[in-house]
């Protein structure tokens, strides 16, 4: 069973994402900001990370930069999931090491499509 970490400061989004990913038989962990997510990754690196951009304490972009510098931090497939829907943000995320990008709002088909694209489904 693949392990996915859902990182978002909105508990509603985390709940929705959890439900979608669990329906694809993934094991889910949650974090409400980049710093908590980083701590979880240091304990056990997940297979995939669904990552919000704007969060308190540590945002998604800073988290991604930190993650990729960790030992084994290049392994998780990172799918950004954010309201930052312009080309500049998408390009910046991809250059920082994101594997896919979901523009909010999303639905279950979009999440499944993106996770399939990075080989997690």
């Amino acid at each position: 069973m693949k392990h996915c970490l859902v990182v978002d400061d909105s508990s509603v989004i985390r709940k929705v994402a959890r439900r979608i990913l669990e329906s694809h038989e993934m094991r889910i962990s949650e974090a409400e900001n980049g710093q908590s997510a980083l701590a979880l990754c240091k304990q056990a690196m997940p297979d995939g990370i669904l990552l919000d951009w704007n969060m308190p304490v540590m945002d998604g972009f800073d988290f991604l930069s930190e993650l990729r510098s960790l030992p084994g931090g290049d392994m998780p497939k990172v799918v950004f999931c954010t309201t930052e829907n312009d080309v500049a943000h998408i390009t910046r995320a991809m250059r920082a090491g994101a594997d896919e990008y979901v523009m909010k709002p999303f639905d279950s088909e979009i999440i499944a499509s993106k996770f399939a694209e990075v080989g997690l489904l």
Partner: protein, 310 residues
């Protein structure tokens, strides 16, 4: 007509329903069974309202009188399914990339020409997926003439496809973000396919039940999730005519739930996922349309009359 027992005006008498089913069958090949009555009521209600017709029954009566081509087109378009997304199902495009295309590129090295047809293209995602797939392999196709023809019964979706403008939801279904960045331009909250790819695809309205021989010969035809709506006679007829439009070493790609088995011997299913079917060499071809028509106790579709509906 709408009344106390049918305040929404959505019911049809059995005769009207049969009349509607006959119209759809003859015009588009769509088989409308009693189990799809709810679908007809849901989709045709808005058509009736937009034309100021009091009930669905009255709309069908109007249709049966014939002569109103706009109404006939509106009803057909409302009843056809246009579900599509970029690189739908994945496997057909993977098979095309890994197996079909390399063979064709080797076989056409001298003439340097390839033709693709996205039959029933809906709003264009399949045709543009092909265009992107080929653009990603442009280094193999330098100085080649590559054509993509895309057709659909519905003029509405063909016009949408020509626009090449997609919602944020549409560009996130099946389309990798790297291809979105590479081949689309953002316009507000929508995304437009780049002009070079847009110009590579020729879109037109076409009914697969009518003669399509003027489109010429193709190397690969995508005809996915269309035949499932037809009865066996119509399926066999379309497949037989498709076989005449596909090069002897070309391929037909069908939907995952579709097959040629029992309908034609002109195609051989290729093992594996993706719905790839290869043409069978001419000498072993044995059209089964006549047999299928006999089994159904009626003439082949091409000679079925459609008086009153044109």
């Amino acid at each position: 007509m709408a009344g106390p027992r049918d305040p929404q005006g959505t019911s049809m008498t059995p005769i009207q329903f049969a009349s509607l089913a006959r119209f759809l069958k003859e015009r588009s090949g769509l088989v409308l069974g009693e189990d799809k009555r709810y679908l007809a009521e849901a989709r045709l209600g808005p058509v009736a309202r937009s034309r100021g017709v009091a009930s669905l029954g009255a709309l069908v009566d109007l249709l049966a009188r014939g002569g109103d081509l706009d109404l006939a087109q509106a009803v057909t378009e409302a009843m056809t399914t246009n579900e599509t997304y970029f690189f739908r199902d994945g496997a057909p495009f993977q098979r095309l990339t890994e197996e079909v295309l390399p063979k064709l590129i080797a076989a056409r090295a001298a003439e340097k020409r390839l033709r693709f047809w996205s039959a029933a293209c809906s709003s264009g995602q399949e045709a543009y997926s092909l265009a992107m797939l080929l653009a990603e392999r442009s280094h193999l196709l330098k100085d080649w003439r590559v054509e993509i023809v895309a057709t659909d019964l519905s003029s509405d979706v063909v016009n949408r496809a020509k626009e090449g403008l997609f919602s944020q939801f549409e560009v996130q279904r099946g389309l990798p973000i790297k291809l979105l960045l590479k081949h689309f331009v953002q316009e507000g909250d929508r995304w437009r396919i780049e002009p070079a790819l847009r110009q590579q695809v020729q879109f037109r309205t076409l009914n697969l039940l009518r003669d399509f021989s003027s489109l010429g010969r193709f190397d690969v035809v995508f005809c996915r999730n269309v035949l499932i709506y037809f009865d066996d006679v119509a399926k066999a007829d379309v497949l037989e005519r498709l076989s005449r439009q596909i090069a002897p070493d070309g391929a037909l790609v069908l939907g995952a739930a579709e097959t040629t088995i029992g309908l034609t011997t002109s195609f051989q299913p290729s093992p594996g996922r993706g719905g790839v079917h290869y043409r069978v060499p001419e000498k072993t071809e044995r059209p089964v349309i006549a047999a299928a028509a006999l089994a159904a106790d009626r003439p082949p579709l091409s000679v079925v009359g459609s008086a009153g509906w044109r």
